[in-house]
Amino acid sequence: MAGIIEDENDDRVPISLRPEWSDVTPIPQDDGPNPVVPINYSEEFSEVMDYFRAVYFANEHSSRALSLTAEAIGLNAGNYTVWHFRRLLLESLKVDLHVEREFVGKVASGNSKNYQIWHHRRWVAEKLGLEARNSELEFTKEILSIDAKHYHAWSHRQWVLQTLGGWEDELNYCNELLAEDMFNNSAWNQRYFVITRSPFLGGLKAMRDSEVLYTVEAIISYPENESSWRYLRGLFKDESALYVNDTRVSSVCLKILKTKSNYLFALSTLLDLICLGYHPNEDFKDAVEALRTWDFGEQDSDIARTICSILEKVDPIRVNYWIWRKSRLPQVA
């Protein structure tokens, strides 16, 4: 493949021809005579890394070394050694971290699903402290506007809120995202994060009531949406008795069951409630019976067993799970 190198910048001057590098001897990679998984590096890549090794092993803290790390990162943003060395340089050269933040932003635009970039971003933000708060929230918001479930962006955003604050608008932001896409589990996850930890909201206990109302509405609009049912359960984390006794929870199950449509989570939630001690009344028993569409087999007087049987049929991908659940039902008095 002589002369054909992908993505080579024609204006680029090889390092070996740059006067400011003339005193440095590049160090080739110690791959050994017969390496496995050998990569057919471009000439540019090899050269940059050969010179990087030279400054890295010599522990040279200079601005030419800093520039070189930027070149290396441009070729492989996953090289954590280069990022680490860059951080050492940024510190000893006392570089303006606002400029560094811009640099990371640019690198991220091509590589947003890379751990090293986000780790570096966090390091920069930590050093900048409080003043970085808004820019970090903005930055993650931009990424989330393209990919509303971006794992690293959410993770970073949560770190920013916890470390630097900025909680004021977060619940509202969740509302917006959920209004756009009620199935966005990341947004539900963030919602939980906010209501439990925001210093402005009073914590889970204080928020539970309004959150139950919100979630029940969400369930009614999209009963097939697993996220909202799980969120509802999460609102009662460590408080099973409250979950069992909150009539809004059991009511929404009943409501959905009666529609005879998209009732999978209504059934499984009812089952969970029963396993936690809930005693369903005749309305529930009738609604469940109405879903039993087969004539064969005896009618089970135990509603929990009936629910499991129905689930075995209507949720076949989890048939073994429902059979197992049936075998683990609490003993009937």
Partner: protein, 432 residues
């Protein structure tokens, strides 16, 4: 319909992004399944075949040569070794001696004189690449490969990565998260260098990564601190009508989750006694009826009592036997039916994740890669052995989808190495 119905007219005008993306994937996948259903049995059998030769060709090629587009994986070369060599081992093939020697030699050049393995020669040691390198060497087996691991220095490296908050940093000045904890603990466990110093407070730190968190907690003997029934319920719901697993709720199916999620369910199944205890406890605490409690079966009551005592006494007398957890884990009895749908998952992997030119992938329309080849095959192995009463007893033909020649080697689900190789390594390191 119990599950998600087709949109109403109003909904169809404005599906959400999640709904739209999901329906697109569903239609691709269902097209494949419909084609499969429409062809005669002989053709079906062919379609279900694991394309062994093609996969081996694709994998072996990667060991010898990778194009410049792989430059972005220049700090992940031990991972490439592991993904490729583990996949080859799963397919029951052997690596020839020369490649084996070259691999041991190469990984040795990635080994830092002060302990740990880096992503490539001359780079800093990193916990994830250490995990990949060690697992590769275990998969290769034999004295040369196993003895090449400098355990003492590696222990020192891990102690340096250990953080005051209990977690581990991936590398000097690196990110601290559950992946780092799992990779550290897994390596320490299999090399028999796991001790109190490495374990302390890890359990307090474990967070988001389900498989990593669960496996790490099991290895340090603290799985009972997790709400296992809820975790199990969540995990089984990650398998959808496409038959494969998704990574998170309302996200798209991806072949690699065959291992990360399927594996989590497989791990959870082996914790059945803790799960039963936790479920019994849950129903006890919520019950408001005295009558109900009195009529509780003796077994239920005593299990509840035992459960309480265990939790109270946990910190005092009980020190988990973490030197043997990995080994005991595969020898304990487990339930006979997998709680996820093994046949459906196999169907997804065989029909949707295989690239006919060799290698496996995320989903139809995505390109094959070594990472997905590794985790799709690992997931397939899990499925095939999911009914086995003993971890490596050959499964009955009826639980293996497609021809019986599809059978892969069994794995140890905590470490994801081929079981036979794990046993060899355990023997090698146990006396040291």
């Amino acid at each position: 319909m119990a599950t998600s119905s087709p949109p109403t007219e109003a909904e169809a005008l404005s599906p959400t992004v999640s709904q739209r993306d999901q329906w697109i994937v569903e239609s691709h996948v269902f097209q494949i399944y419909q084609l499969f259903a429409s062809i005669p049995p002989n053709a079906q059998s062919l379609m279900l075949e694991v394309q062994r030769d093609k996969h081996i060709e694709y994998l072996t090629k990667g060991l010898h040569h990778l194009s410049s587009t792989f430059s972005v994986l220049d700090s992940n070369r031990p991972w490439l070794c592991y993904w490729i060599i583990h996949s080859i081992a799963l397919l029951g093939e052997f690596i020839d001696d020369e490649i084996e020697d070259n691999t041991v030699d190469f990984l040795n050049r990635c080994q830092d004189p002060n302990g740990g393995y880096a992503g490539g020669p001359g780079q800093m040691p990193h916990l994830a690449t250490t995990y990949a390198a060690v697992n590769t060497l275990i998969t290769l087996g034999g004295d040369k490969a196993l003895a090449s691991i400098n355990r003492d220095k590696l222990y020192g490296f891990m102690r340096r990565m250990k953080q005051p908050n209990g977690g581990f940093s991936m590398h000097d000045g690196g990110e601290i998260d559950a992946r780092a904890c799992y990779t550290a603990i897994s390596v320490a466990s299999v090399l028999n260098i796991l001790d109190e110093e490495l374990i302390k407070n890890v359990g307090d730190f474990i967070l988001r990564y389900t498989f990593c968190g669960l496996a790490a907690m099991i290895l340090i003997g603290e799985a009972n601190r997790l709400d296992l029934p809820r975790l199990l319920d969540w995990a089984v719901f990650r398998q959808g009508k496409e038959c494969g697993f998704q990574g998170r709720t309302n996200k798209l199916v991806d072949g690699c989750y065959s291992f990360w999620q399927g594996g989590a369910v497989a791990l959870l199944q082996r914790l059945h006694s803790i799960i039963d205890e936790q479920m019994a406890e849950a129903s006890q605490f919520s019950t408001i009826s005295d009558v109900h409690e009195e009529n509780e079966s003796l077994a239920g009551t005593s299990s509840h009592a035992t459960c309480r005592i265990k939790h109270e006494g946990m910190n005092e007398s009980h020190s988990p036997d973490f030197k043997n957890i990995g080994y005991n884990f595969i020898n304990e009895w487990r339930a006979s039916e997998p709680l996820f749908h093994s046949m459906a998952l196999q169907q997804y992997i065989l029909l949707c994740a295989q690239d006919q030119d060799g290698g496996l992938r995320d989903k139809p329309g995505k390109r094959r890669d070594h990472y997905h080849s590794c985790y799709c095959l690992s997931g397939l192995s899990l499925c095939q052995y999911s009914w086995s009463k003993r971890p490596d007893s050959p499964p009955l033909p009826k639980v293996v989808m497609g021809p019986y020649s599809n059978l892969l080697e069994p794995i140890h689900p905590l470490f994801n190495v081929v079981l036979e190789q794990y046993r060899e390594a355990r023997e090698f390191f146990a006396g040291l």
